[in-house]
Point group: C2
Chain length 245, copies 2
């Protein structure tokens, strides 16, 4: 059972301004919700259909019908459960290790995939420009597949952050040096640019290390890789290089 007021609150959370005002966000699907419950996220309430209701050994939960679930889901294909969590405070950054910096990533699926990649490659800190898509957008939460519980993400003035850091700064550009031939450190900031425009001019000026993923084949007409697949290759190369392989 879900009341009219609850439906109104939950649907409001589909939008960023209401997430900010209420400091709450939505997570959907058994796997994502289980991962958040096992970490430090604070649950407000869980709504689940009969299908997954007994998968959760918590008290603040309600059983809902599939019709009710359709009324509250933010996904085109509703899952069997939806949870309302509190948005945690931004954690302090530690000025060490490998960072990923996002310069206006706009697509929720891309942000979710990048967070999942960071989790896989043991990168625990992501910094984002303020124009980057909201971490608590329901599609981002979904695409992280639970990795959101393990990777710290901070929104900040990216140009200021990068101009003040003492860590080496890397960015991918078509004219960069072949990433396969570089010795890549286990500390630094890897900048990933916007889907349409790449790394912005003001940030580009601060990039000391311009790297490139080589193209192969004879035709070589592909203009670019998408940002999520480029991130996969770049992070793999950094970890391979610093593991001495």
């Amino acid at each position: 059972m879900v009341s009219k007021n609850q439906i109104k609150l939950i649907n409001g959370l589909h939008l960023k301004k209401n997430r900010l005002a209420n400091q709450l966000f939505l997570a959907e699907g058994v796997k994502v919700i289980q991962e958040l419950l096992q970490s430090n996220f604070v649950l407000e309430h869980l709504y689940a259909t009969e299908e997954s209701f007994n998968s959760f050994s918590i008290t603040n939960k309600s059983v809902v019908s599939e019709v009710e679930m359709k009324k509250i889901t933010a996904l085109s294909t509703p899952s069997s459960c939806l949870a309302v969590f509190q948005i945690p405070k931004q954690e302090q950054l530690i000025n060490a290790g490998l960072f990923v910096a996002l310069d206006d990533i706009r697509d929720p699926g891309n942000l979710g995939t990048i967070i999942r990649l960071c989790d896989w490659f043991g990168i625990e800190q992501i910094v984002c420009s303020k124009e980057t898509v909201d971490l608590y957008n329901p599609k981002v939460v979904q695409a992280t597949m639970g990795s959101i519980a393990r990777v710290k993400l901070n929104y900040l003035d990216l140009e200021k952050f990068i101009s003040e850091t003492t860590l080496p700064i890397f960015g991918t550009f078509m004219d960069g040096s072949n990433i396969y031939e570089e010795e890549l450190p286990n500390e630094g900031i890897i900048i990933l640019g916007n889907e349409a425009n790449g790394i912005s001019k003001s940030i580009e000026k601060l990039v000391k290390n311009r790297i490139a993923i080589p193209r192969f084949g004879n035709l070589q007409k592909t203009e670019s890789l998408n940002v999520a697949t480029a991130t996969a290759i770049v992070l793999s190369e950094f970890r391979r290089s610093s593991s001495g392989k």
Copy 2:
């Protein structure tokens, strides 16, 4: 101007059975259509709004209004142009070089991204199980960003094809050997599995070379990478290895 019959034909092509019956498919967006026009694809007709009508120096085109475009597009956000192309005959495979084999990839975005990655890494042949999503699905065509014009894709009995090939067969598994430590050849078949179930049991039996992308970090709870990002890393490793880097 687009007639009622044309609207009916075009909307029919959103579905695979009608694409097969008519041997026609849709492409949307200036970049994708330009790339197809520059290759061997045969255009039936192009529909474009004022915005992009003059970008195409061809005769078989009609100007349409934005309202008409909304009636024919297969995308949630319509582009300024939509083209109807003939489906070309499946080309003969050449039993050499590096292949990618898709074992029931179901998501159109994933197939499109994999085709784009193959194009980047100079892999010109993809073989797919018959259950793999249709190459001419409008969302696949869109996600390839034009790479569909340069990569050959064949649907076939994948188990039969793999059991008969003389090329070495590779697949990624959690228990595989560290891909960073392998010498990877410039000929072979790289099998990519279904999004939910991975490589099917009957195909797995035929895989002689089990490889894995190592995980990093302390927590190591991420269960898997998605198939498109895993493909990016694996193809990059094959090309890096065979280029001697």
